[in-house]
């Protein structure tokens, strides 16, 4: 190392030490903030002055002087722009692999558009991400970690007084928690389960207009949307007579779909004498038949496998039947009875085939017992002869 480069390193070290000292100066008066801040992701990138300005080298009230660049705590209306100052800077964000469109998206969101009109009660960055202790979404304790998002959104959206002012319902979080998606997230602990942000967007959070809700649901339920687009319901949606998926399944409180929907959902739009209800009845019958057949095969497999564990090798075949059934569940959104009939018939025939194979294995057991009985008769005969011969030999001696 040359003398020149040694000097550069020395100067850098000195500046770094001064920066540390400066950081320490703020926390001398704000130790509680230090604890929170040091747990966050910004801790290693910049200090207090990055957001609040001021002179960290001064250890008295003059550090907060405006002439020293002090801006204090940003107001709610300024927070998105303050955060966006760095988070919209591609050069600054590149090392972290973070997108830079959050601020732009926020401005288009329901929150952002209202904020632009001066409404400071809407959510800003700090409401969701926290203030000093900002964690990455991958951290389980982060308020924007998947499992915490419903509570984070619900913090405002479950506040009835606040939501009443916007004429919005305040029961979405409660509905979501009891929904099939909420159960997947909280009970089954599936981190891929959809949360509020999955459907409404993250920074560009918006409310669906009802007619295009299928595009949201269709992001995950791709095949169902394809089938729906081929159904007569597509036209009804275009005519704004129904709200795609939500008309039958609901929105935040989506329950696990059962065939009870044929009884309840269809009748909300169709009159009892409507011919469309016969389609529902046909579909219901097909699904019931296939489901019974699959359940019977599944039950037989479990029961027989207790005595004959090798029958578990029929499970993959049964899973094929289940796959046809699931495909039929998807295709039903097209309301094409013949297609559903073909698929459910395949499911039934495979499950019947599996049941027959399982029963033939079990039937072999009766023969085994019979064979064993005959074997023992022969064995005892030979043992008897051997014993008598032995006695006879000993007797002769």
């Amino acid at each position: 190392m040359t003398a020149w480069s040694k000097s550069v390193v020395a100067v850098c070290l000195l500046l770094a030490a001064q920066a540390d000292a400066a950081q320490e100066a703020c926390v001398t008066c704000h130790p509680d903030v230090r604890t929170q801040y040091e747990q966050g992701v910004h801790h290693e990138q910049f200090g207090c002055t990055g957001c609040h300005g001021g002179d960290p080298a001064v250890l008295d009230a003059s550090a907060h002087a405006k002439e020293r660049g002090y801006v204090g705590a940003a107001g709610r209306l300024q927070i998105p722009a303050l955060c966006g100052g760095c988070h919209s800077d591609a050069a600054r964000m590149r090392p972290f692999g973070i997108p830079t469109d959050q601020y732009a998206r926020y401005q288009t969101s329901g929150h952002g558009t209202r904020l632009a009109k001066g409404d400071d009660r809407v959510a800003v960055c700090t409401d969701c991400h926290g203030v000093h202790r900002i964690l990455a979404p991958t951290e389980p304790t982060s308020p924007v970690a998947p499992a915490n998002i419903p509570a984070t959104c619900g913090h405002c959206h479950s506040n009835k007084a606040l939501m009443d002012e916007y004429k919005l319902p305040s029961n979405q979080e409660a509905q979501y928690r009891s929904s099939v998606h909420g159960i997947a997230l909280f009970v089954e602990e599936r981190r891929d389960a959809p949360t509020c942000a999955t459907c409404h967007g993250v920074h560009g959070a918006a409310v669906s207009n009802g007619q295009d809700i299928g595009t949201v649901c269709g992001t995950c339920h791709v095949r169902s949307l394809e089938a729906f687009n081929q159904s007569p319901h597509r036209g009804a949606t275009a005519a704004a007579k129904m709200s795609e998926c939500a008309s039958c399944h609901g929105n935040h409180g989506i329950a696990h779909p059962t065939r009870a929907l044929f009884e309840s959902a269809c009748k909300t739009c169709h009159q009892p004498d409507d011919a469309a209800l016969s389609t529902a009845a046909q579909l219901n019958t097909l699904f019931n038949q296939a489901d019974e057949s699959l359940d019977a095969a599944d039950g037989d497999l479990v029961r027989v496998s207790r005595r004959f564990p090798t029958v578990v090798r029929y499970r993959p075949r049964l899973q094929q039947a289940r796959a046809y059934f699931i495909e039929a569940l998807t295709v039903q959104h097209s309301l094409a009875v013949t297609k559903v009939e073909d698929l459910t018939r395949s499911a039934r025939s495979i499950s019947d085939e599996v049941r027959a194979a399982i029963h033939s294995v079990a039937a072999g057991q009766q023969l085994r017992y019979l064979g064993l009985a005959l074997f023992w008769v022969f064995l005892l005969f030979v043992v008897g002869v051997a014993y008598l011969y032995k006695r006879e030999q000993r007797g002769q001696r």
């Binding site: 004959f308 564990p309 090798t310 029958v311 578990v312 090798r313 294995v361 085994r368 017992y369 064979g371 064993l372 074997f375 023992w376 064995l379 030979v382 043992v383 051997a386 014993y387 011969y389 032995k390 030999q393 000993r394 001696r397």
Partner: protein
Amino acid sequence: MFAPLKDILHLDTIRTTPVRFRLLHVFSAIAVLLLVVEVASGVLLVAYYRPTAADAFSSIAIVTDEIWLGWLIRSLHVWCADFLILFSFLHLIRVYFAHAYEAPRQLTWVTGILLLCVLLTFGFTGTLLPWDQYAYWSTDAARKAIAAVPGLGTLVLDLIWGGWAIGEEVLLRFYVLHIGVLPWIGALLLWLHLLLVWRFGLTEPVLRSRRYGRLPSSFFPDFVLSLLIAVLLLFGVLVSIATFFPATLTAPADPVKALGVVRPRWYFMAPHELLRQLPGKFATLALLAVFALLILVPVIDGRPDTARWKAIVRWTLGTLVITAALLLGVKGYLP
């Protein structure tokens, strides 16, 4: 009916008096005959078994479900292995308490212990072959238990496992050991063992029953017919067990889906529990000490001697070891 056979083979001249055969002598003979069943059923299984990770499970499933009497052959192979090891242990215990390892039978004892080790290795390697969940995870548990033994564990793993994770390579190694290496070592040791038994004969029983003095037994027909009856009845019991409790086959081995609680075979439960209870180095020392003691029994107590104190020490030590092994085994099965 047996007279011509008797004359041809001179059966009545084999082992002359004063040897008196007792029921306890049947253990070793049954063990040998179980070994014959084991070999015969093993050969039949080899005809269908495919030692690859992709085919092992399905080939066993086909043997069990589709081949005529395949389920019986496989179940007999599994149950005979257990009974073979059980009777070998019983034989070992009888020989110990009869102090049949004393001169001139020291080498008979040593070959017997080595033969038992080979049988246990047969059991260990055979467990993996069905390639189902139990096979995979019990072998994995054994690998971890062996690896935890300082020094010796790594050596054994390197020698037998070759440093592989459990997969196709280990399955093939175990298969080769099970059908290609161990049978030859076992056959050689068995031949030596039987040759020595033949050379030095059987020992007199330690505890004499009231009937003992009445009539000397001969090898033929007394012992042979008793053995035949015992073997036939045992075979009947084995076939019945195989029919009512056929060898199980869990789901195909899945290295990602671990089984909750995996217990080793009953004959490995005591050493497994010992390894769990004692810290690494002590466990190694304890295992080595037990093995060394077993091998060295005829050296330590090799001279024929009727001293009462020796008999007391022998019985106390034997009872202690058996009780400890049983307690460790039972503890291993407790939740």
